[in-house]
């Protein structure tokens, strides 16, 4: 599927650190849309082995801020014809997405999000309990009696896709256009001269380049140390798990902020489940029994009949969190060093639009208009983007 390159070249026009979905998408659009093909993508592990392969594959655009809604909506639009672009089945499946409200305060937030969404042409609506019951007949509307469902934010375009295939599709598309993907190649240093990038040291030798794009999720702080940049990014593990395969019974995607659950059923019949962030900083991906116990008990509040269903696998990824739950993207104070980070628990759905906007930013040297709310310097100017109400269930 990919060309193997025996050695690195002495130099490239652009070096991308991280062969996950975001890095490979940027490489793909650099080659396809901007004609920049002398590009190396460096990956210390294997393609799509980080958070691209660890998320719960939910795609949606029902965010809270205008910046977020416009950005994620463009991503949902790009997702639609991606499989045709790649000639690869992404198992993109539009399911509808319910964010359940168990309190009056949550219902108010749902109405707020619905209005912001509608204003930008995104299909979202606040719905009542009867609508939820019709859409999810199997759900216990009282949630065990202690968290009755009052309504929901319903987002019809909500979808899931096969995450590995996204990385493979972008990777193969970039590879065929001349981009070199080097796996098992770790970046050990970034060389600067007079405040600008001149090259990258790797475990397989030195590469000269004037442009570096960093797309490494939970490893971002370590790369930023190499160029002496400081950000608010903090890393907590985010865990997820899947059940054994069962007959199809759950069509939509269900999220409950109060119960800290999100769940969907894959084409194979497995239930893919996630919850909130682990409670403290950690740079390791060993999952915990606490997580399975907590998540399983909340799943049973909603779906008591699952009590005999077994959990097949659990895992963790390293989430690069920001204080406003919005990413940090684009130019940085170091000339030639571009950042696509702060993707915490919400990065998979943004893969296409991140590739599009970051390739534009790298090719032109100017931030793409869609990422102007996500700039590196917004914290120094106290201009946060405030996506916290919609970015994850972990709060």
């Amino acid at each position: 599927m990919f060309t193997r390159h025996d050695s690195l070249k002495a130099g490239y026009d652009v070096v991308i650190i991280g062969a996950g979905g975001h890095g490979l998408a940027a490489a793909y659009y650099l080659a396809r849309d901007h004609g920049i093909r002398n590009v190396a993508v460096l990956e210390k592990g294997y393609i799509g082995g980080g958070n691209t392969g660890r998320n719960t594959t939910i795609i949606r655009s029902n965010y809270l801020t205008p910046e977020g809604v416009k950005f994620y909506d463009e991503s949902v639009r790009l997702w639609q014809d991606l499989a045709t672009d790649f000639d690869l089945n992404l198992f993109y499946s539009t399911r509808g997405h319910y964010t359940l409200a168990h309190t009056d305060a949550a219902m108010r937030t749902m109405r707020w999000r619905a209005e912001v969404n509608k204003h930008y042409g995104v299909h979202s609506e606040a719905v009542d309990a009867a609508f939820v019951k019709r859409g999810i007949p199997a759900i216990d509307m009282s949630c065990g009696g202690h968290a009755p469902i009052l309504g929901a934010l319903f987002h019809a375009p909500g979808a899931i896709a096969r995450h590995d295939a996204v990385a493979w599709g972008y990777g193969r598309g970039a590879d065929r256009r001349g981009v070199e993907i080097h796996q098992q190649t770790e970046v050990t240093g970034i060389r600067l001269q007079a405040g600008r990038v001149i090259g990258v040291d790797t475990t397989r030798g030195y590469i000269a380049t004037s442009k570096v794009l960093c797309a490494v999720a939970g490893f971002t702080p370590r790369i930023l140390d190499m160029v002496d940049l400081h950000t608010p990014i903090y890393v907590h593990p985010l865990q997820a798990m899947v059940s054994e395969p069962v007959k199809p019974w759950l069509d939509p995607i269900i999220v409950s902020g109060s119960l800290h659950v999100y769940v969907s059923q894959t084409a194979r019949g497995e239930l893919v489940m996630g919850a909130s962030l682990d409670p403290y900083e950690l740079h390791a991906t060993r999952p915990t029994l606490d997580f399975v116990e907590g998540l399983a008990s909340h799943m049973l509040d909603m779906f008591p009949f699952l009590s005999e269903v077994k959990v097949n696998r659990q895992w963790a990824g390293l989430a690069d969190m920001t204080p406003d739950f919005a990413p940090i993207m684009g130019l940085t104070p170091v000339e030639g060093f571009f950042l696509d980070a702060g993707w915490g628990t919400w990065g998979f759905k943004a893969t296409p639009v991140c590739g599009k906007t970051m390739s534009h930013t790298v090719a032109t040297g100017r931030n793409h208009p869609l990422i102007e709310g996500f700039t590196f310097d917004r914290f120094a100017h106290y201009r946060l983007t405030g996506e916290k109400g919609a970015a994850s269930v972990g709060h």
């Binding site: 990014i233 900083e281 120094a380």
Partner: protein, 92 residues
């Protein structure tokens, strides 16, 4: 880390504790610049390593400091909160 040694209560399961973030010196808000203040408010040392952190034993409401390796999730030492005023070993 499944067990944390609280300086007051001894070894307790980690689920009894709340994490309070890294111990960081606060610049004087009356004299520091806007950039220094935003750096203090927002920026964090995100890379893994041995860090002094605030932890609280929830049941007893007791705050203390743990020196923890955030790469391996191993607590190297714990100190009562007064240690911050006296100066933690090796801390800036």
């Amino acid at each position: 880390m499944k067990v944390l040694v609280c300086p007051l209560n001894g070894a307790r399961p980690v689920s009894e504790f709340a994490y309070g973030g890294e111990v960081r010196p606060m610049p004087d808000p009356d004299t520091c610049s806007d950039v220094e203040w935003s750096n203090y408010v927002f920026n964090r040392s995100g890379s893994p390593g041995a860090k002094y952190e605030w932890w609280c034993h929830i049941a007893s409401g007791f705050w203390f400091v743990a020196l923890r390796d955030t790469a391996r999730d191993e607590v190297l030492a714990t100190y009562p909160a007064e240690a911050v005023r006296r100066g933690l070993p090796g801390a800036a």
